[in-house]
């Protein structure tokens, strides 16, 4: 974890010595020779640690410490003191300084103290990541009986050892968030935070502040420094839902993060390293948005290292029954009800329904049925009347298929039905094995 250090010290030799030693350890170090300049620097840039001498011309170390703690309470401070002013150092420790060090000091001693602060900062970050991700849960169970969903799982397995950015596409409610979680928790970054943000929920300014964080005073209302999600998700993954809703200027800023692997807080001047895997999702046809100029082509290519399309539930009806049973178990447990099964008639109703709201709609229908049901199995009476009264047909204009694609999909379904036996599938389709082979290999 990189930390930015500011040294406020008037003795030139001590400063040179410290800067050399700290930079050698990989820290980013800035130095000034008095308290007033130090506070000015803090107002302009973002620092994690201030090392300040007590005795300095103009504003002394104690006054600087008090001003810093009043305005930037998250910043850690190490006080450097001469032998005679130990009592003052003890006083500032009581007021919240991280540590103090007496002159003449050993560099190893100060490096040890910085290591301790680094560990505290890391724990604070981890704690914040846990708080942000609280509610996202680690539940990554995906029910996949259909060939289409099995293929999705296969793709996820194939990128387990990769760190590439991923673009998830598919209609609302198909489970893009769940797939994103599965990618994270089955990947190399599984022990680091998984955070999520919906780009459609925020205005451009707020989304920028959420993603990059902001410095104190960066805009009206920015009363304190705020860490952004990219910062908090350090070494983990950040799921950007509805990425197509990101404004063009924010797309440009975000592209820079992907290219340079660093970012700046809103109102900040110092770049911060970004070690984050990005998983983006959209329910729109991003190719159309790119050709219309509404989504940056370069950003699209950066995100689309791996594109995973999650098909709507109506195109994978084989998943309806296992999904319904999975949701029944989950909801019955939650509601503390002893409902063990779904009646045959209810399953028929569900199988013949179009589910425009996809898996999310199915889960909510089962949740409601569990609440209403009085017997030990879900009966049609507990299902919404309207899904029995109306027939719905969904068309996603972004996914209109060509005839040969439909032929391929159908052939794959028949093949799945006969458990991969190509001769049987060809016989059922009334074509030769060669024709079936051609259809299946049609890209």
């Amino acid at each position: 974890m990189a930390i930015n250090i500011l040294i406020a010290e008037d003795e030139e030799i001590t400063v040179k010595h410290l800067v050399y030693a700290l930079e050698d350890e990989g820290y980013s170090v800035t130095s000034v020779n008095n308290g007033a300049d130090a506070f000015k620097k803090i107002q302009q840039e973002s620092f994690d640690l201030l090392i300040a001498d007590i005795k300095m011309p103009g504003m002394d170390g104690l006054t600087l410490f008090n001003k810093v703690k009043d305005n930037y309470p998250a910043m850690e401070v190490i006080i450097v003191t001469g032998f005679g002013s130990i009592q003052s150092a003890v006083d500032v420790m009581r007021k919240g300084a991280a540590d103090y060090i007496t002159k003449p000091f050993n560099v190893d001693e100060i490096l040890l103290k910085i290591d301790k602060i680094k560990e505290i900062k890391r724990l604070e970050k981890e704690n914040m990541a846990l708080k942000v991700s609280l509610g996202l849960g680690r539940d990554t169970s995906i029910v996949a009986k259909s060939l289409m969903m099995k293929k999705v799982i296969e793709i996820i397995s194939s990128i387990m050892n990769s760190d590439c950015n991923v673009l998830l596409t598919g209609e609302s409610g198909v489970g893009k968030g769940m797939v994103a979680k599965l990618i994270h928790y089955s990947g190399l970054r599984k022990d680091s935070p998984f955070l999520a943000v919906n780009c459609a929920t925020f205005t451009e300014e707020l989304l920028a502040s959420e993603l990059f964080g902001h410095e104190k005073g960066a805009f009206t209302g920015a009363i304190a420094k705020k860490q952004g999600l990219i910062d908090i998700a350090h070494k983990g993954s950040l799921f950007l839902d509805e990425i197509a809703e990101m404004s063009p200027s924010l797309q440009a800023k975000f592209l820079k993060v992907l290219e340079d692997r660093e970012f700046m807080r809103v109102g900040g001047v110092k770049p911060i390293k970004a070690d984050v895997r990005f998983i983006a999702a959209t329910n729109q046809n991003i190719n159309v948005l790119v050709s219309d100029g509404r989504f940056r082509e370069d950003l699209y290519y950066r995100l689309n290292v791996m594109d995973i399309y999650i098909p709507p539930l109506r195109e994978r009806r084989e998943d309806i029954v296992p999904l319904s049973k999975h949701f029944l178990n989950k909801q019955a447990r939650k509601a503390n009800k002893k409902i063990k099964d779904i009646s045959k008639e209810s399953l028929e109703v569900l199988m013949s329904y179009g589910f425009p709201g996809n898996v999310r709609e199915l889960e909510n229908i089962i949740e409601r049925a569990v609440i209403l049901e009085k017997t030990s199995q879900i009966t049609p009476a507990s299902l919404p009347q309207t899904i029995k009264l109306f027939q719905v047909e969904s068309i996603d204009p972004n996914r209109i298929k060509k005839l040969n694609e439909i032929g391929k999909d159908y052939a794959e379904k028949v093949l799945e039905h006969v458990e991969g036996n190509k001769s049987k599938a060809a016989e059922m389709l009334g074509i030769s094995r060669t024709s079936l082979w051609r259809i299946l290999n049609n890209n």
Partner: protein
């Protein structure tokens, strides 16, 4: 952010057919609903009104001619507004529902509406429009609209 469903229906006596499904779907998905009610221009432009307006226009009374042409439109809009208000109360959605009344053909009105209202997640076409090939051409609709389209129909044996 809550999703938004757009229910597109034809102005007239069956305008609320299919709305019970939309209301249920909105509840299930925890989504908000917008209604776009589209009246056919033929309903508005009655022959006698046009002729009366023409007579006034010939006599140089352009304001009266305009009033005559808009009278029916205003009457219909007022009635539709009342119906939609009642509908939203019936389904207990008064706080989440917003409605828009348009006159003209479905495709151009829907296209214009979705361009000006980008946060629509799904477009649901009422049974009265879904069954009418004259009113709605799905092929043209698919070319113009980029959001998922759901047609609602009612099997003959099912009640309303």
């Amino acid at each position: 952010m809550r999703e938004k469903l757009l229910f597109v229906t034809k102005g007239g006596k069956d305008f609320d057919n299919g709305f019970s499904y939309v209301a249920e779907l909105a509840r299930t998905l925890k989504a908000d609903v917008s209604i776009l009610m589209i009246y056919n221009r033929r309903v508005i432009d009655a022959y006698e009104d046009i002729m009366t307006a023409a007579v006034f226009a010939e006599a140089g009374e352009f304001h009266t001619a305009k009033d005559i042409l808009h009278e029916k439109e205003n009457e219909l809009k007022a009635a539709a507004e009342q119906n939609l208000k009642e509908l939203s109360i019936t389904y207990g959605m008064s706080s989440d529902i917003d409605y828009h009344i348009r006159i003209g053909d479905v495709l151009s009105n829907l296209n214009e509406f979705q361009k000006n209202t980008p946060n629509i997640n799904m477009i649901l076409i009422s049974p009265s429009l879904s069954k009418s090939k004259k009113e709605i051409d799905l092929n043209k609709l698919i070319k113009k609209i980029s959001k998922p389209i759901v047609t609602i129909s009612q099997p003959a044996q099912a009640g309303a």
